[in-house]
Each structure stands twice: as C-alpha cells, then as structure tokens.
C-alpha cells in the first residue's frame, strides 16, 4: 500500500519511497534529512497530537522518535510494510 506519511495509520510501519523536496523549504528539507528522513528509511507512525486535528505526528525512526507537522508528512510518500 502506497500513501503519504500523514495518512499512514497509527502503529503502521512503512518505508519512505520518495520525498517531495519542492514542497518543503530548504531549511525544512535539510532538517528532515538530519533527522534521518531519507529515501529508504523505515519508520512507524506512533501518535497524533490532537483529536480534532492531525497535527503534529510522532514517528519512530530506529531508536529515535520525532514530531513533525502534517504538512511535512504530506510531502513524504511511503509504502506500508
């Protein structure tokens, strides 16, 4: 199943297949890469911050967990594993 990270069901593990760098500004893209969000990275969607909105999203990458906004997650295409 292919989707974007913001739509990945919680608890689901997926692999990043593409990131739309044009949807992010340069600094945001760089920070994503520094946090290890790259093509081929495996991650798991963990938590959402609110009941009524989708922001933010917590994901686990290896042993680290990070929080990102849905807007950024929407730029990340993933394939469920």
């Amino acid at each position: 199943m292919e989707t974007t990270l913001d739509r990945l069901p919680l608890g689901q593990t997926a692999r990043i297949i593409a990131i739309d760098w044009d949807a992010l500004d340069v600094a945001e893209g760089r920070r994503l890469r520094e946090l290890g969000l790259l093509d081929g990275t495996e991650l798991t969607a963990l938590h959402r911050g609110g009941l009524f909105w989708r922001d933010p999203l917590a994901v686990a990458i290896g042993r680290m967990r990070i929080a990102i906004r849905a807007r950024h997650a929407a730029a990340i295409r993933v394939e469920a594993l």
Partner: protein, 620 residues
C-alpha cells in the same frame, strides 16, 4: 583567561546528555556569560586532568549538523570552525553521542571528526542503552572511526577519568588522520548506519518503557488531562508548600526590623533601613520559596523529557493561532521569567514564528508577578476550599490568572499572525527524547542559579528602586499639625495624584497609582512600593507597621479594585529588563515599543472591564 590550559568544547546532538556531562566534569565551577554580539549563553567551566593540569571546557548548544537552523546552532558551528568572535578555536572536541541512538548521533560525530581537530567520543548513557537491551562494542567503534571512544554515564559520573585520559592523549597526539569533511546527509547517514550496525553486539526491541509511557502521555485525551493536572498541581503547590517557608522569612524580617528600631536612634538612617530596605526589599524576598517551587517543577519537567511531550500536545492548538509547539518551551519558561523565555526562542528556526513568540511571552505570568498576585489573593480571597474538596480557592484563583494570561497570549498571537507578523505557518520538527529520572544534582544546581539570580536582582535593581521610592515618599516632610498623610504630601504622592486621574476610571486608587511607576523597573516592586508606603504612613506606630500588608490592603481597597489590579497585572507592560532583552533579540526599538504599547492598552482595558463588571455585580 590563560592560554596555557587547553580549551575543549563539548559538542553533540540535542538530548545526547551533553549538559549533564558538562556538569559532571566541571561540578559547580561554571561561568555563564554571553557570546559578544549574539545573546547565546556561553557556559564554561574548569576541570583538571589526573595529574592536576587544568583545562577549560565550553558546553556548545546542541545541534544536528554544522549547517545551522537557528542562532544557537550558528554559535556551535562558528566555535567549531574557529569563526566565533571572542572565542579562540578549541584545541579539541569532546563529541557526545547517545549510546542508544548511534545511527542518528554518529552523523554529526562524523561531520565533526572531519573538521581536523583532535576528537574524543563520549559514548554517553550506556546504562540506559543497556537497559534498553543494547550491547555496544566501544573498541570496534573506535577502530572504525579512528578516534578514541569512551563509554560514559554522565549522571553517575562514570567513565569521566577515562574520558579525560583519552582527551589528554588526543591533545598530545594532535588531530588524527581524519576522513575528509562531508556534509552530504545521505552519505553521512549511510556511513553512520553502517558504523552503528558494526558497533552493536546485541539488540533488543527499542525503548519499550518510553513507548508505553508515551501511549498515555501523548494520548490526545489522557495526555491532555495529565498535562492540565500537572500544571494545576504546580500552581497549587506554589501556594501550599511555600507558606511555612514564607512565614518564617517574614517573621525573620520583622524581627530584624524590631532589632534595628530598638538599637538605633530615630532618624534618616533608621527610617531608610527599616522602611526602605527591610520593608521594601524584604517584602520581595519573602517570595523566594514560591519562585523556587515554580522553578523546581519546570526543571523537573525539562530534565525528565516531559517538556517536549507538552510541546507535542500543545502544537496542534498553537498551530491554530499561527505559533508552533517549538514556542511552547520558551513560553513555559516565561512563567518563570520572560527573559530566559525570550532568549530560549533563539532555538526557533522560523523568524516570524519566533517574533510572535517573543511578543506574547510577557503575557505568560512570570514569577515577578507572583508576589503581586500572592499579596492580593491572600488579602481578598478567603482561604477556603471549593465545595468541600481539597482544592483551595486561592490556588484556583491563581490558576485562573495564569489561564487568563495564556488565553490572552493565544488571542494576541492569532491577531498578530494575521496582521503584523504575517508569514508561512511555521513548521515543527523535534526529537522526543527518552524519559529519564532527573538527577538531583543537576536540578539543585539549576535551582541555586535561579535563587542566586533572584537575590541578586533583589539586592540591586529592587533595592535601588525601593530606596529611591522611599526617599520620594518621605520628603518633603509633612508640616507639624497638618492632617494630610505623609504619603499624600510627599513627592511620590504628588506624582501619583497626577497619574491617579488617568487610572481612576478603572478603579485604581492613589496607592496603586503610586505602585505602578516603580513596577516598571521590576514588577515585584509593586508589592515593595505598597509595603513601603504602608510603612511610611505607619511611621513609628509599631502596631500599624506589624500589621501584614495584606490586612492593611483588605481594609483600604474594595474587592472590585483588587480584582482590577490583578487583571492589570495579567497584561501589565513588562519590566525594563524584558524591554531591553526584546530590543537586543529583535535588533531595534520597533518591536519592544510595539510590545509595550499593546500591553498598556490591553492592561487598561482588562482592568477597566474587570472593575466595571465587579461594580455592576455589587462588589464595589
């Protein structure tokens, strides 16, 4: 500064345990200053090698790479590259990595090793990694990296001697034949993952504890309930726990006043000491226990890793008003004091987001307002419980005032982001570190630094303003036989009479008008000013002087006036130091002036509405 002792910088990712390692290496021998031109704090301290030779350590802001996304990170890059004004290039680096997060933290480590300085890796928090089921081979990692790798547990002071020995060796040897610097994140990540895989001997599934706790604490309903409960307990504790300490302090100050009155002849000096110094400064120092309890909570929440969870929960809400969860930590710090709060915005990458956060930071009720709230609440709100529950009414009112400030801040941010600080919705990307037990030593050191800063403030700016105010209140002396009170006759009283015309419509009396002027220097001086005026009015009548300030006020003010006064202080234009730090952080007078202006208007309107409503309800 001696150039003989080597300068060594601690560098690493955020959450690598860098500051704990810095504390463990330097103990209390620390200095906090600012880098010239920027307001990033420079933490330095001294340590010594096994044979006693000294070295100077600096703790650089946590960073993910040498390409900065914020002012803090720019300092880290500039110091490492030797470009930071006022700082010589370090002779060596201690790169701190979290043993439980190697594939992430080794990226920055690799970039740092490539800079041509002698490097020692502190493989920190190995105990936590072990508890997580990770077994690591430090020697294998060292062999592949070509630099010494020393396992450490900063919070238990383990591995420190070995780390210093390795550092000594690295300094003598000079830079190793380092791989070429590479800032291509993709390549670095590949390399880091390969290294981590080689170093990991055994691995169990990751972080079950943190995962289990997060299931509750990050839950959109349960998590929010916990956050609100924590904040509520915090404000209840500020009132309930501090009382015995505050009473003891107050008793001590009263006893001192009695001693001075008994020992000295009546005159200028005795008046200055008893009314100005002890009466004024003393009335502020009494709040030290409450301020320390507030800071204790903030430090514990930060050290345990909970603070970023709070930011996570708040992000969705803050996004609605155009702020980001990144701003939550600066705003929460502003509950202690707006100055560290505004300085903490330096870690925020988005300029408009940062500016908005700075502008609303003064609406978070800082600890300097606590004395004002505490006196008024104690005087006007009965110390009963709400409906027979263990919840105290006074604590509830205090909680309400804080909430009032927060709602005000959210509304102001909403308006600002649509008008003067328009821009893209800010992003938020941050790491959620693993939970850990706060270390008593680190918390106590933090508390001590806060207590010291508060007492120094009380000893300087608060002392100066209360003494000046006392002089203005005492002279000219009211003529013999006149029935005008000393306060009304004095210079300060006459100025206040002028101001009273402006603030009368919102229910403020002469006392308040008098207190508002020095409150601009430091808000807690409002209490000192009321106390000093009270003491001057009481003259040598010891009974009147001994009467607590609260009781006097309760006799003189109406409830509506007291409530209006509280409302004023929710929005009150901040102290001179906040204006100064805003000017420094925004690089000009435009934004601080804007901030003062809008706060004045809000304070006036809020106090007015409160007063008129209260009067209409028959509380006047």
């Amino acid at each position: 500064m001696t150039t003989a002792s080597p300068l060594v910088a601690l560098v690493g990712n955020p959450n690598a345990g860098k500051s704990s390692l810095f504390n463990a290496l330097t103990g209390a021998r620390q200095k906090i200053a600012n880098y010239p031109g920027v307001t990033v704090e420079r933490h330095s301290g001294r340590a010594s090698f096994a044979d006693g030779r000294p070295l100077e350590l600096i703790d650089l802001p946590g960073s993910y790479s040498l390409t900065p996304a914020s002012l803090d990170e720019a300092v880290t890059r500039d110091v490492v590259l030797g470009r930071q004004a006022g700082e010589r290039r370090p002779d060596a680096l201690i790169v701190v990595v979290d043993a439980g997060n190697l594939d992430q933290h080794l990226c920055f480590a690799l970039e740092l090793i490539g800079q041509g300085l002698p490097v020692v890796i502190a493989l920190n928090m190995v105990d936590m990694a072990a508890r997580d089921g990770l077994e690591l081979d430090a020697a294998a990692l060292a062999a592949r990296l070509g630099v010494p790798v020393v396992p450490t547990v900063a919070v238990r002071k383990r591995g420190l001697d070995a780390l210093l020995d390795a550092l000594d060796g690295a300094l003598k040897q000079g830079a190793s034949a380092a791989p070429a610097a590479n800032d291509d994140q993709r390549a670095l990540h590949h390399q880091a993952r390969a290294l981590a895989r080689a170093a990991i001997v055994r691995e169990a599934p990751a972080r079950r504890w943190t995962h289990a706790i997060d299931r509750v604490l990050l839950h959109p309903v349960a998590g929010f309930a916990v956050l609100l409960a924590l904040l509520f307990i915090m404000f209840q504790a500020v009132f309930a726990w501090a009382t015995p300490f505050a009473d003891a302090l107050e008793g001590g100050i009263g006893a001192l006043q009695g001693l001075v009155i008994a020992a000295m002849p009546d005159g200028f000096l005795r008046g200055l000491i008893v009314e100005g110094l002890l009466g004024g400064v003393g009335s502020v120092v009494v709040f030290l226990p409450q301020i320390l309890i507030l800071f204790l909570f903030i430090l514990l929440l930060e050290a345990s890793g909970y603070m970023t969870r709070a930011a996570f929960l708040m992000d969705g809400l803050m996004a609605k008003v155009g702020l980001s969860g990144r701003g939550f930590i600066p705003l929460l710090s502003s509950f202690a004091c707006a100055i560290p709060g505004i300085m903490a915005t330096r870690a925020m990458p988005d300029a408009q987001d940062r500016l908005t956060t700075i502008l609303v930071a003064p609406l978070m009720t800082c600890s300097a307002r606590l004395p004002v709230y505490a006196v008024i609440i104690a005087a006007f709100i009965p110390a009963t419980s709400v409906g027979g529950s263990p919840v105290g009414l006074q604590g509830l009112v205090l909680f309400g005032l804080y909430l009032f400030g927060i709602i005000g801040a959210l509304l102001v941010a909403l308006v600002l982001r649509r008008t003067v600080t328009k821009g893209n919705t800010a992003g938020m990307m941050m790491e959620l570190p693993r939970y850990q037990m706060p270390r008593a030593g680190d918390v106590l050191l933090g508390l001590w630094q806060r207590a010291w800063a508060f007492l120094r403030r009380a000893g300087t700016i608060i002392l100066a303003t209360t003494v000046i105010l006392w002089l203005l209140l005492t002279y000219p002396k009211v003529p013999e036989g006149s029935n005008i009170s000393q306060v009304d006759y004095s210079v300060a009283g006459r100025i206040a009479s002028g101001l009273e015309v402006v603030v009368k419509p919102i229910g403020f009396n002469h006392d308040i008008a008098l207190a508002l002027i020095p409150a601009m220097a430091a808000r807690e001086v409002a209490v000192a000013a009321l106390a000093t005026a009270n003491a001057v009015d009481a003259g040598d009548d010891e009974d009147a002087m001994a009467a607590a300030l609260g009781d006097t006020l309760a006799g003189k003010w109406s409830l509506a006036t007291a409530l209006a006064f509280l409302a004023w202080f929710v929005f009150a234009p901040q102290c001179i130091s906040t204006i100064a730090v805003t000017r420094r952080e925004t690089g000009g007078w435009k934004w601080p002036l804007f901030m003062v202006g809008y706060l004045f208007v809000l304070a006036y309107v809020a106090a007015g509405i409160t007063y008129w409503t209260a009067v209409a309800l028959g509380l006047g």
